[in-house]
Amino acid sequence: MTSLVTARNVSKSFGPVRAVDNVSFEIEKGKITGLFGPNGAGKTTLLKALLGLTDCDGDLSVLGLDPFRQRKELMKNICFIADVAVLPRWIKVEQLLDFVEATHPNYSRKRSEELLARTKVRKDAKVRELSKGMVTQLHLSIITAVDARLLVLDEPTLGLDIIFRKEFYSNLLNDYFDGERTIFITTHQVEEIENLMTDIMFINDGRLLLNTSMESLAGKFVELVTSGENADKARQLGPIYERDVFGKKVMTFEGIDRDKVAAFGELHTPSVADLFVAKVKGAAA
């Protein structure tokens, strides 16, 4: 396996605040990694460091390059959508395609035009005349047409309605992802990408709480639904988090043998959203 991203002890401070605190991880080729964290957890700072938009301490290598010092070289092989609102509002769709074509060596205008033909985005329209969903379609049509090895998405569907959000991810999988390419994504809408991720990372207070593959999730975490005496017994086994649901206790265990807890109630593999809450709140407790 080849690592596209290697981070070792990466930190970034803003004054006394450590936005990213000693983070180490690797992202391998062909993976779709989701990065989750509450607001202010350091997600965006980490992404910015990966994209060379901000300097950081520690060793960070993206596609074998130092992102901050070799940003131009890096941007030939990386695409990113930072937020839906970043396309300049004054530009015409056609001008935007002209500009990317002139400045990006790995861009296929033809591909963009094919993708746009499937949408309602007119080439003579200005970005400000497009709806939020159409702006995202336009942006996606551009980055999908770049033959990039790594795609970084930071809250790409923020503010979009559910139809556009669903369409965004289905287009992403159908038009961009081919097993050779790699996607790194952050979003608050965990449920939407739960089924397409291959790997998952949790970050809170600048530290990585979790970094694992989706496949190994079931082996590492188990959720027990229990009540009464059984709950007290199960609590002895040290759940990382416990919550109440309809009068029952739901406990999340990490790295425990399923057989040990099976006797106390019903077992599930936690959803990513529940696991996220368990890890973040559990770590805070």
């Binding site: 803003f14 910015k48 938009l53 901000t54 396309l87 002139a102 990006h104 060596p105 942006h139």
Partner: protein, 308 residues
């Protein structure tokens, strides 16, 4: 590198349409003024513009008519120069500010273009694209103005070929104007650099942040040191007529007497400009160095500042 620069400058023309709208508007206004003047002359029989009076006077010698025509065209050009001055300054002030205000900077920075390339493209737009657009408009305005006067003369029974087209030092004027248009941004370079730097740096209100220091620092200098060196340097740069390229004539500006002495001796406007003085002037070169420092600072700010 060059393809990127061309694409970047073209993008500036898309975004800042004032770069071509302003000179086009000035050309329209000067042309409409010429039409109004001709109509006024036809209606009231009195010519208010002394240059036009000389041009239309059959009794004046050829050399005087030449001077009058050149004076008329230069007067017309000066309006474009003033417009270009404002255009260049306001463009620079907006160039690196607008992309942060509309948050498109993250999109631009997602493309394989360095911050240096982007900032340099903004400077090139101010120093080359704006003068070029102005020059095109000046040429069109000159031709339209002369055509309007020709029509009027023809209607009055005079021969425009003799009064206008045979006498006007058109190409000489155009080459001289082009030279001046190239020299202006070089002369203004430290100011353009300053405005671009403020544009990259200011979180809001770039105009105020750009103007206040250049207004207050000279006053402080006067209060503390009782000297006016900085104020004088800034005022000199803000003015076009102080350029060393005009050193061979008096600093009083485009004086009719100067013109007369130059053109009556069959000299040209082009030969009247002091290129050597301009290119060897310490002021010009220090100005370019100061501009370079501000541009470097602007690149640094765009590259290192976290916009989140």
């Amino acid at each position: 590198m060059i393809t990127n620069q061309l694409a970047l400058v073209r993008r500036e023309l898309w975004e800042h349409r004032s770069i071509w709208i302003t000179p086009a508007a000035v050309a329209t206004i000067t042309t409409l003024l010429a039409v109004a003047m001709v109509i006024a002359v036809a209606a009231f029989g009195e010519i208010l513009n002394p240059d036009i009076e000389k041009i239309a006077d059959a009794t004046v010698p050829e050399s005087v008519r030449r001077v009058a025509l050149a004076g008329f065209l230069l007067g017309n050009t000066s309006v474009f120069l003033i417009a270009m001055w404002f255009l260049a300054i306001f463009y620079c002030l907006d160039a690196l500010y607008a992309e942060r205000k509309d948050k498109s900077i993250l999109f631009w920075r997602s493309l394989p273009i360095t911050d240096a390339e982007t900032v340099v493209s903004k400077l090139l737009t101010a120093a080359i694209a704006i003068p070029l657009a102005t020059m095109v408009a000046v040429i069109i305005s000159h031709l339209l103005n002369l055509i309007i006067i020709s029509i009027w003369l023809a209607a009055e029974g005079a021969n425009p070929m003799r009064f206008i087209w045979g006498a006007v030092p058109l190409f000489d004027t155009w080459i001289a104007v082009t030279t001046i248009l190239i020299a202006v941004p070089i002369w203004m370079a430290p100011l353009l650099g300053w405005f671009l730097f403020i544009s990259a740096w200011a979180k809001r209100g770039p105009l105020l942040r750009a103007v206040l220091p250049i207004a207050i620092l000279p006053i402080l200098e006067y209060i503390v040191f009782r000297s006016w060196a900085l104020g004088e340097a800034i005022l000199t740069r803000l003015s076009i007529v102080t350029m060393p390229i005009f050193d061979s004539i008096s600093h009083s500006g485009f004086d009719e007497d100067d013109l007369e002495s130059i053109l009556s001796e069959n000299l040209s406007l082009v030969s009247w400009l002091d290129y050597g003085k301009f290119l060897t002037s310490i002021e010009v070169w220090t100005g370019l160095i100061v501009c370079g420092l501000f541009i470097t600072a602007a690149i640094y700010v765009r590259r290192y500042r976290d916009e989140s």
